[in-house]
């Protein structure tokens, strides 16, 4: 497999350090070479577009141009970065007016841009799943996992859907490969309200409360996510909910942490102590000491 350009994005450099850590460990163990996108910038998230659509595209496209210097594939682990990079690419390819303006602003022709992949996409191709199985040292057998995709597919442009948007199964296939039980529960693609986490905590809290209680009704031992915003919101928000005397709690894993556990990495190295809801109970079910 050729070397990929790795675009961590701002969250993986701060609140989601454990996603970064576990993902890179897994890539290295599986022999997938990567290089960080040279001098990457923030993708602009949802905010850049509130000022100007061209600003939103330029911020995303600059990263694609930078990535192209090291690879034809750029890897985005965050759903929001993934959306911005794919939308930027789509705009340059399908909107000649935008392409012209952005090229003029950046002072360069926008030659072929790299392809954009989400980390979940890259790590669940049949080849990589085989490899994971080959290198696995532990099975997550006994662990009931509710896979949670949030707005991953509703947000991204259609050509970039790597799974069925209404009933995705990529995470479920991964969980089965790792030996766990993937629950077929109804809230896989319910949005967690993460973007309102800081400004309308009341709204985010209601979303999280609902997702957590449904997962518990389905007797899940944990939730697995592929986005730093979902993680921050689902994990941290539960702590606030306890203040309101709700007993409900469920640990939230990044998918890369579950792969890491199966590959035999120590939970500590995978950043599992950084979570607000302790994953201890779930790890015990899979026979992993924490």
């Amino acid at each position: 497999m050729p070397k990929i350009a790795y675009y961590p994005g701002c969250s993986l450099h701060s609140t989601a350090g454990e996603y970064n850590q576990s993902l890179l460990l897994v890539l290295e163990r599986l022999g997938i070479g990567y290089e960080e996108v040279p001098d990457w910038n923030c993708c602009g998230a949802d905010s850049a577009g509130t000022v100007d659509s061209q600003l939103a595209v330029t911020l995303a496209v600059r990263n694609l141009v930078q990535a192209k210097r090291v690879s034809d594939i750029v890897l985005a682990p965050c759903v929001h970065c993934y959306e911005r990079l794919t939308k930027g690419k789509e705009q340059i390819e399908n909107n000649p007016h935008m392409r012209q303006n952005v090229a003029a602003e950046m002072g360069q022709e926008l030659e072929e841009l790299p392809s954009v992949e989400h980390a979940l996409e890259l790590l669940t191709t049949p080849d990589v799943l085989d490899k994971i199985q080959h290198y696995a040292k532990k099975s997550l057998s006994g662990l009931k996992v509710a896979s949670y995709y949030g707005c991953l597919f509703a947000k991204t442009p259609k050509p970039f859907h790597f799974d069925e948007p209404d009933n995705p199964e990529t995470l479920d296939r991964l969980i089965q490969t790792l030996g766990g039980e993937a629950l077929s529960w109804p809230y896989k693609t319910e949005c967690c309200g993460g973007n309102l986490s800081l400004t309308r905590a009341d709204v985010a809290e209601k979303r999280v409360g609902r997702i957590v209680s449904v997962a518990l009704e389905w007797e899940a031992d944990c939730l697995v996510v592929a986005c730093p915003l979902c993680h921050a919101n689902l994990d941290l928000r539960q702590m606030q909910l306890w203040d309101k005397k709700t007993e409900n709690r469920i640990p939230i894993f990044y998918f890369s942490q579950l792969i890491g556990l199966a590959l035999g990495f120590d939970p500590e190295i995978l950043g599992l102590r950084k979570h607000f809801v302790s994953p201890g109970s779930a790890l015990a079910i899979a026979g992993i000491h924490f």
């Binding site: 989601a16 350090g17 602009g44 509130t50 330029t58 911020l59 949005c191 309200g193 973007n195 950084k274």
Partner: protein, 164 residues
């Protein structure tokens, strides 16, 4: 905008994860746009409660991209004093200021600015987040932040020079 084909089926509102908190529901936004009552839309809180999840656009049987329209309308609504969603607008502006200066988001400053503006409860999350190494002390910066600042300059000028 392509709102004419909307038959008011309401699927967008049914799929919206935050419609319960909105003052005008997603299908009502489309209806108001059909009636060319933009004013009511750009001053609504809904415009800023939308989390851009894209559910409405992907379920609409007529392919109406409401999420995209909301994002476009925000550029118009940004500086209306009557807008009811000050916290959300300030959050976006702090976020952008951070990118403008560092090329990346410095979440610590963002957090502090946002929480200070609200002056209330969310503060108690700060210490546990810090203790878990989830808040960095120094910003992560892009070397070409001047180039990025230039992109912002053009965008602000287009908005009438009103700097966030």
């Amino acid at each position: 905008m392509e709102v004419a084909s909307c038959g008011q089926c309401g699927k967008c509102s049914a799929s919206c994860p935050v419609s319960f908190a909105m003052d005008i529901l997603p299908h009502q936004i489309v209806h108001l746009l059909q009636l060319e009552a933009q004013q009511a839309v750009v001053t609504s809180e809904s415009l800023w409660l939308c989390i851009q999840c894209g559910s409405c656009s992907s379920t609409c049987p007529h392919g109406i991209d409401l999420a995209g329209m909301i994002q476009e309308l925000r550029t118009v609504a940004q500086y209306r004093p009557e807008v009811k969603a000050g916290d959300q607008i300030r959050f976006h502006q702090s976020f952008l200021r951070s990118i403008e200066h560092n090329g990346r988001v410095y979440d610590t400053a963002l957090l502090v600015r946002t929480l200070r503006a609200q002056g209330k409860k969310n503060w108690k999350l700060v210490w546990p987040a810090f203790a878990r190494g989830k808040i960095r002390i120094w910003p992560s910066r892009a070397e070409s932040r001047l180039e990025i600042k230039g992109y912002f300059k053009r965008a602000w000028l287009k908005l009438g020079g009103k700097h966030a």
